[in-house]
Symmetry: C2
Subunit: 212 residues, 2 copies
Amino acid sequence: MSERPIQHRDAERTRAELLEVATSVFADSGYSGARIDEIARRTRTTKRMIYYYFGGKEQLYLAVLESVYRGIRDKEQTLQVEEMDPADSLRRLSEITYDHHMANEEFIRLVAIENIHRGRFIRQIDSLRDLSKPALGVLDTILDRGRDEGRFRTDVDALDVHLLISSYCVFQVANQYTFGYLFDRDLQAEDQRSHLRSMIGDVVVAWVTERT
Amino acid sequence: MSERPIQHRDAERTRAELLEVATSVFADSGYSGARIDEIARRTRTTKRMIYYYFGGKEQLYLAVLESVYRGIRDKEQTLQVEEMDPADSLRRLSEITYDHHMANEEFIRLVAIENIHRGRFIRQIDSLRDLSKPALGVLDTILDRGRDEGRFRTDVDALDVHLLISSYCVFQVANQYTFGYLFDRDLQAEDQRSHLRSMIGDVVVAWVTERT
DNA sequence: CCGCTAATGTAACATCCGGTACGTTCATAA
DNA sequence: TTATGAACGTACCGGATGTTACATTAGCGG
């Protein structure tokens, strides 16, 4: 038996592992449904460490929330919608958002869970507010360009567009199970993807494009 | 102390009261978060009766799910989108859907909860499938009319339109807490309502309207 | 090599919570 | 009136679950 040179007593590793597993368990089962014992069991450490590093179940959940939001925003900031035709930019942004949501079901689930709790936990993390608003900057730039070129309506707000795109993309992930069951359509199916992926861009562009 | 002539031993009333309170508690706290004791406490009967009438927590939750879905579909079927201009009909349908969702937060929350559970419970209630699909009939009729008049695109599916409208309306209720907090905009605020209410109709009409 | 402390493990505790055993009461029908 | 069963209440059980008291070990500075 080859003893792996496991780094024992690695505070950072232990903490990180707990956070990672906790993210997965909370996303799976919700706050009440998640079990401290299960989180511990799935790591290489014990329940005791959750209290040592986080203080308790609630603080662990808060740490999870903050970490996933930061992770998402970090990823978002690396995305670049290149300088191009404003309509194409909107399409591109829509597709990026779509892909992004599809690839981060765990995050969407945690957001849904947080909303079930009426935002009770997220309200305790002030730092997240400042993280979100800049996300509208790109959209604002695109809309400005389109308006300058006289091709976009002037009465459409960036936040409204964001709301529209978010709604669509979040729904496909968050409500896939009930929708899929009730209407017999698997929103995650490969053959649906390309259609659904391009659809929201069409919708947005059709909406913001000025008609004469 | 005037003894109210309460009807004791009224099986139907007891069952109904349990179901009503359970709906509220499950919508508030989720399946795991809901407490059998709390449900009982909020009724005029005892915990024992939950097991007498429903069998257990899970069966009670299933009964709640089925009853709210039936209630929603019943209400939907009484709605009539009158014969009028297809574009106006779409706007009207959008607004009806918007109002409907805003007025039924409890239902939206139960759907969200069910999706957190990946539809595990709803899949046990076959009867709900047949209840949902007819809801697309109205939409189909409107789209047909618009297409016949040569004013709507021919490649837009009723289910796609439904998906778009649902996404938008569900999101406003389901994600109001995180969205409201992160972007500092209360989606339920009175002054937002009229704008958000008319917006989705504009979006849909712009999208399905044929441009030449 | 020693001592100190951060990091970890063990084992239990106290409470919560879904579920049930058992007894009681009321309404109805014969 | 009485027998009977549906409807209801009480009190409790047993396991699950978040939390902690206490003991232990590894690793680092001196």
